[in-house]
């Protein structure tokens, strides 16, 4: 395949300089497969790393990615928010494959910074309309029967900056408020049953222990269906920025309800209309009225490569790759278009196709160097078809901020560079 895509932000990086130089001399696209490198390391020479012993075991007690992958990081958009404590960072989707997001790359959204909780001092209180209010330690949570579930988590504001038109160049920024992780935790229904839910209870309030003490109201039906109180992600304990030591997992629903640093669950007979379900995370329509409790994330997809941060470097055989997900269940099919949605063909979904989880799709093509208008369209098992941005704006206007799942278009230019565009 082509060489590793470059991150345009890495000024001063040697390969970047090489590419810039190559582009300047009119050779951005290479004909062969070998792009650059140090001839001393190339055959027939014996490279440096073969002649010397490397680091032994335990020099890296917690393994990190290769130093050559140091640019594969979460990034933020500083002008978006007033402070970094109440802000968001984005998953570098263009650098990832498969469906599982590595823990250190899962996007972050905090409302009051990262709470650093002492595990010994962690407590979860379950109270309200229950037979017996209970308090649990972390050790208690780990004693419960547990399950493992792979689910996507998407912020309702993912793609929110694109309502009024193409704005950010890179799927990290346009779609990077999503990740997909295997959670280990206690089914919420088991935890609630321990306290005994009263018949009059209809809603559940979940509250975080962070400086925002964020709260959301969740209908009891969902709480008793597939929610978890999770303490592990991808096998290891939750990262602090993902809610260590315990968070709520609310499969298929907007990320804001997946309360991190979970400290309290209160059962009640009505929703609470907390700030995050009134002032925020409500969808303002053209009429001036707003939809509330829009929990479910509609089916959505994005081509992660090529994309503005992952341009094409070679003509010929090319793998178009992307992610799709739906809050309503499994992804049934993903279609890909190279002509801006005029004609479609079914992409190949590779790997697991799980309920309310990301799927990875591929569409192989021979790229002649002609301009492409790349799109992907997700269809879920309920028959929901990801709409175009035009269709979406027709029913929602452009003021709703949240739940923008419109079809993304990438313009691939003859030089292989990719731009975020909108089409007729």
């Amino acid at each position: 395949m082509t060489d590793r895509p470059e991150d345009p932000s890495r000024r001063g990086h040697s390969r970047r300089r090489f590419l810039t130089a190559a582009a300047a001399s009119g050779a951005a696209l290479t004909g062969g497969s070998a792009l650059a490198g140090n001839p001393k390391n190339l055959p027939p020479n014996v490279p440096e790393w073969t002649r010397v012993l490397g680091d032994g075991v335990a020099t890296r007690p917690y393994g990190k990615p290769s130093r050559h992958e140091a640019h594969v990081i979460r990034r933020d958009v500083q002008w978006l928010t007033a402070s970094r404590e109440s802000s968001v960072s984005f998953t570098p989707l263009h650098e990832l494959d498969g469906i599982i997001t590595p823990n250190g790359l899962c996007f972050e959204r905090h409302h009051g910074g990262i709470a650093e909780i002492e595990p010994e001092d962690y407590r979860l209180i379950v109270h309200g309309l229950v037979d017996k209010p209970l308090i649990f330690t972390l050790a208690d949570l780990k004693r419960f029967p547990r399950v493992n579930r792979i689910h996507f988590l998407e912020c309702a504001a993912n793609s929110g900056m694109e309502w009024r038109g193409a704005q950010l160049n890179g799927c990290q920024y346009t779609h990077g408020m999503v990740h997909c992780v295997e959670y280990t935790g206690v089914p919420l229904r088991v935890l609630l049953a321990e306290a005994g839910v009263k018949a009059s209870a209809k809603w559940l309030l979940a509250e975080g222990a962070d400086s925002a003490a964020m709260t959301r109201s969740i209908p009891l039906g969902k709480a008793l269906d597939d929610c978890l109180v999770a303490y592990r992600m991808n096998g290891e304990m939750l990262r602090p920025e993902q809610g260590y030591p315990a968070r709520l997992v609310v499969p298929g629903w907007e990320g804001n309800v997946w309360v991190k640093w979970l400290r309290r669950l209160k059962l009640g007979d009505e929703p609470w209309f907390a700030r995050e379900e009134t002032s925020k995370y409500t969808d303002l329509m053209e009429s001036g009225k707003a939809r509330q409790f829009t929990f479910v994330m509609d089916a959505k997809s994005v081509i992660t490569s090529p994309s503005p941060q992952a341009p094409l470097r070679q003509k010929g055989f090319t793998v178009i790759s992307g992610l799709a997900w739906s809050g309503r269940g499994r992804i049934a099919r993903v279609d890909v278009s190279v002509d801006g949605g005029r004609n479609w063909r079914e992409a190949r979904i590779d790997g697991q196709r799980l309920d309310k989880a990301c799927v990875r799709f591929y569409a192989e093509t021979d790229w002649s160097g002609a301009e492409l208008l790349l799109q992907s369209r997700a269809i879920d098992e309920t028959g929901y078809v990801q709409p175009t941005k035009t269709e979406l704006r027709k029913v929602r206007g452009v003021n709703s901020i949240y739940h923008n799942n419109g079809i993304q278009t990438w313009l691939v230019k003859p030089d292989g560079e990719v731009e975020n565009v909108e089409v007729s």
């Binding site: 209180i125 308090i135 003490a213 503005p308 369209r377 007729s424």
Partner: protein, 263 residues
């Protein structure tokens, strides 16, 4: 699915608990063993097997049922423990603490602890949320969502300030300061006059301007057209032309220089 799994788990734990001589969980059923009425192994008659299967299924069901009821994990939370964290307030006033605060007292709290970010008149300083004004803007191209223009319930602002404000010094206000600063924000939004005192008693009398401004999620009916059994595959529209480009706006973080607000 998880019901089955947890029943197996309980089955095992009940067994090992018995082996190790621990007391069995209160409502945990007896560990699975051959019923006393069954014939010794190897001598079971044909009619006994269906009975065994039925008995086993019945016990598994009972175990699963028990799992969802009591495992005796955790302990009872004391009223004192709950009181310290139970700070939510509902639209009907449930959860309001004792106390009261006047607009005038609230002005002092607001100027000292809120104005630096939210502006002296609630107009916002920089990118921090605007908390006053914006009346009549929700249908415009630039909707301004504030306590006055957008919040449907008074409890929402009270509950939020109680949980999370002042930013960086959360849960530091006294109840009286809390009532007062919320009263002042209502005053900034022309919802109450300068003599107003907010308390448990006056809470229910405040009318929020955008109280009728919300409706429950109706996507499955309003956006029914997005469910399409046969989405178009070929010649779906005329040739696509480019109508907008991100590069024109140029606000991607790696592009130094321009910094534009979007929402």
């Amino acid at each position: 699915m998880s019901k089955c799994r947890s029943s197996i788990l309980i089955l095992r734990s009940a067994r090992s608990a018995r082996l190790e001589g621990w007391p069995r969980a209160r409502s945990a059923p007896p560990p699975f063993e051959t019923p006393p009425s069954a014939a010794p192994q190897g001598e079971a008659r044909g009619w006994l097997w269906p009975l065994l299967v039925v008995l086993t299924l019945f016990m598994l069901f009972e175990i699963a049922h028990a799992t969802e009821r009591k495992l005796d994990i955790g302990r009872v939370a004391t009223p004192q423990e709950i009181a310290g964290w139970d700070i939510d307030v509902r639209p009907d006033g449930q959860g309001l603490p004792p106390g009261a605060g006047a607009v005038k007292a609230g002005e002092a709290v607001y100027m000292a602890k809120c104005a630096a970010c939210h502006g002296e008149f609630g107009e916002s300083a920089g990118r921090w949320p605007q908390v006053a004004g914006g009346a009549g803007s929700l249908k415009s191209d630039d909707p301004v969502k504030t306590v006055g223009s957008y919040f449907a319930h008074l409890s929402t602002v009270f509950d939020y300030v109680r949980h999370a404000m002042p930013f960086g010094d959360a849960q530091s206000l006294t109840n009286d300061e809390l009532y007062a600063v919320v009263a002042y924000m209502l005053f900034l939004n022309d919802i109450v006059d300068e003599k107003f005192v907010l308390s448990k008693e006056t809470f229910g009398k405040v009318k929020m301007p955008n109280a009728g401004g919300f409706y429950d999620d109706d996507r499955e009916t309003a956006e029914k057209s997005f469910w399409n059994p046969k989405p178009c595959m070929t010649n779906c529209k005329p040739d696509a032309t480019i109508t907008g480009r991100a590069r024109v706006i140029d606000v991607t973080p790696d592009d130094k220089g321009k910094r534009k607000s979007v929402d």
